[in-house]
């Protein structure tokens, strides 16, 4: 019983991290039709910035987190205007290559300044404590992650359903030519979407550092994982990303707990079968 509970708690926390990092990737893929292999780089840069601020400059964790996310958002705006705007127009292969190039430069930059070892984030001591739920104890960190994930989900839902920007965004995902002809300023929608996605990736990277440790190779190490969430959830779908993240988080955790050694094989075989059967993902539509 307690094993099942552990799997569920760890799996859901893991899934929330995957969701925060991947949802931006899913929306940009659905909207701009871009395969952005550098998306995980935003999570890395967020984590590296927090590492720098907390361990080298003695900034407290929460302000460091906010500053890091802001910095990543600004950087993403810059990259969008300089590079990504052109990459949208490339074919699939060109996008893969250009974004691999970008991620290589991100990795090399982090390594140049911080080295290639695991970068600890100066998390508050309270993160590592356990809280007693009566029937079992739960690491406080897991709780923070799960609650943050739910906040992000709710925030995205409000943004997509209740704001004018959300209407524009959904219209553009649905049919960008039609959206542009309706007078929606798609370049601005693209820019804002890209920046939000990058910012969320940074949040996910920072909060998830305990489960997916921050180090220079981070974006390549977990790239496949993030892309799998997107392909399983279906491009451009927030709810699809959420369901896929939680599902994959629990599946992967269960695999590790119940079938140690075979967990990874089981995980990837399951994904390969699923994608072969449903090439557009769980909630994806035919392209």
């Amino acid at each position: 019983m307690s094993l099942i509970l552990s799997i569920v708690v760890d799996g859901v926390a893991y899934g929330m991290i995957l969701f925060m990092i991947s949802v931006g990737l899913s929306i940009t893929m659905g909207l701009m039709r871009i395969i952005n292999l550098a998306h995980g780089g935003f999570a890395l840069l967020g984590g590296a910035a927090v590492h720098l601020l907390t361990t080298h400059l003695d900034v407290a964790f929460i302000p460091a987190l906010l500053a890091a996310v802001l910095a990543v958002v600004l950087l993403s705006v810059l990259l969008e205007r300089l590079l990504y705007r052109h990459i949208y127009g490339f074919n699939e292969l060109g996008q893969v290559l250009a974004t691999i190039g970008i991620v290589f430069i991100m990795i090399a930059t982090v390594n140049l300044f911080l080295g290639s070892t695991i970068l600890p984030l100066g998390v508050p001591a309270s993160f590592t404590t356990s809280i007693d739920l009566g029937f079992r104890t739960l690491p406080f960190h897991r709780l923070v992650v799960i609650i943050s994930g739910l906040f992000v989900l709710a925030g995205l839902w409000l943004l997509m359903e209740k704001t004018k920007f959300g209407i524009y965004l959904r219209a553009a995902v649905d049919n960008r030519v039609a959206a542009a002809s309706l007078g929606i300023n798609t370049p601005v929608v693209y820019l804002v979407t890209f920046a939000i996605g990058a910012g969320l990736a940074a949040v996910g990277g920072i909060l998830g550092a305990e489960l997916l440790p921050i180090e220079a190779y981070y974006p390549l190490r977990y790239m496949v994982l993030f892309l799998i969430v997107v392909s399983v959830g279906g491009l451009g779908s927030v709810s699809g990303s959420f369901v896929a993240s939680i599902g994959l988080g629990i599946l992967d955790t269960a695999g590790r707990y119940l079938l140690p050694g075979l967990g990874t094989i089981f995980f990837f075989v399951a994904i390969a079968v699923l994608l072969a059967l449903r090439p557009n993902g769980l909630m994806g539509r035919a392209q």
């Binding site: 430069i105 390549l220 892309l227 799998i228 094989i265 072969a276």
Partner: protein
């Protein structure tokens, strides 16, 4: 229905010579390199083996337009197969190559049946996932593969029973170059064949190929199996020449590197594959000897430059430059 007859056009003699051209160029270049860098033969051999691997990838990406990020799967299977044969059955190098080719082809056939039904991002994902499954399987099956330690101490008997593999690596180099020349000849014949033309048709427009009655899926599986066999040969060569096979043969970065090398040189042309590999390997060697991470700066900027400025690769550089000059 007319029965096809083989023509004997006057161009035939000239064109059959042009089939030999890439192989001849490679042999000449290799002879030159052999004389100029007699102490770097093991590095040169690595380049030659990589060329075989990249040429095999050109068949599927450059000719048929199938973009995958899991080409290391076939390379790795070939390497393990050749390593295991040499350790347990027979040290003959040619037999090892043949077994490596079969292993690569079988892997390509099994994975291709699933992969080639999909397109775009799904295809990329499944190809990555399959390679990861293989890596995990290789790391778990310790009794067979030695797990994370890999297979060590692979030795092969003298080539054709005559030439002992020496310490300097002369025999290994000549052996690899001969295999590359053979592979290039095969690829050149394939490219100028009806099958090769059909592949370029599939790359150009699969829907049109269907409309003229081509079984597109079957053609794709066929070329995937051929490319898999060649990739398996490259893996087998690596195992024989280095004496080692580890789970890194299934690394994602290997599949990515192969794609980068091909695009750098220019996909769809055999010379592009060769030039891209040479440049990538040499720059890698120089940059990595300073600091392995510096290398990522170099390759990152190179990639962005190629995609933005030279989408057809370095091989298109001369035409591109003349284009630019003419415009100004």
């Amino acid at each position: 229905m007319t029965t096809p007859v083989l023509s004997s056009s006057p161009r035939r003699a000239a064109t059959s010579l042009s089939v030999l051209l890439p192989s001849v160029c490679v042999l000449a270049g290799a002879a030159l390199a052999f004389l100029m860098f007699p102490y770097d033969l093991s590095f040169l051999t690595r380049i030659v083996i990589m060329m075989i691997f990249v040429v095999s990838f050109d068949l599927i990406l450059g000719q048929a337009g199938i973009a995958t990020l899991g080409h290391a799967a076939m390379y790795g299977c070939g390497a393990y197969a050749a390593g295991l044969i040499a350790l347990h059955l027979s040290p003959d190098p040619i037999l090892g190559l043949a077994i490596g080719a079969v292993a690569g082809a079988v892997m390509a056939w099994i994975s291709g049946l699933i992969l080639l039904r999909t397109h775009g991002i799904t295809l990329l994902m499944i190809s990555i996932a399959m390679t990861m499954v293989l890596q995990e399987a290789a790391s778990q099956a310790r009794w067979l593969t030695g797990g994370a330690d890999g297979l060590a101490g692979i030795t092969v008997s003298p080539l054709l029973g005559l030439f002992e593999f020496d310490f300097v690596g002369q025999v290994a180099f000549i052996y690899s170059v001969s295999v590359l020349a053979g592979v290039l000849l095969l690829c050149q014949i394939l490219i100028s064949s009806p099958f090769g033309l059909a592949l370029r048709g599939i790359e150009g427009s699969a829907s049109r190929m269907r409309a003229i009655g081509t079984p597109v899926y079957r053609r794709k599986v066929t070329v995937y199996v051929i490319a898999g066999a060649i990739a398996g040969i490259a893996g087998a060569l690596t195992a024989q020449v280095t004496g080692l096979v580890g789970i890194e043969v299934f690394n994602f970065s290997l599949s990515a590197d192969v794609m980068v090398m091909l695009i750098l040189g220019g996909a769809g042309r055999l010379y592009g594959a060769l030039i891209g590999t040479l440049l990538f390997m040499v720059v890698h060697h120089l940059a990595a000897s300073v600091d392995p991470f510096n290398w990522l700066f170099v390759i990152g900027f190179m990639l962005i430059l190629v995609v933005f400025v030279l989408p057809k690769g370095l091989i298109s550089l001369p035409t591109r430059v003349t284009q630019l000059l003419r415009r100004t």
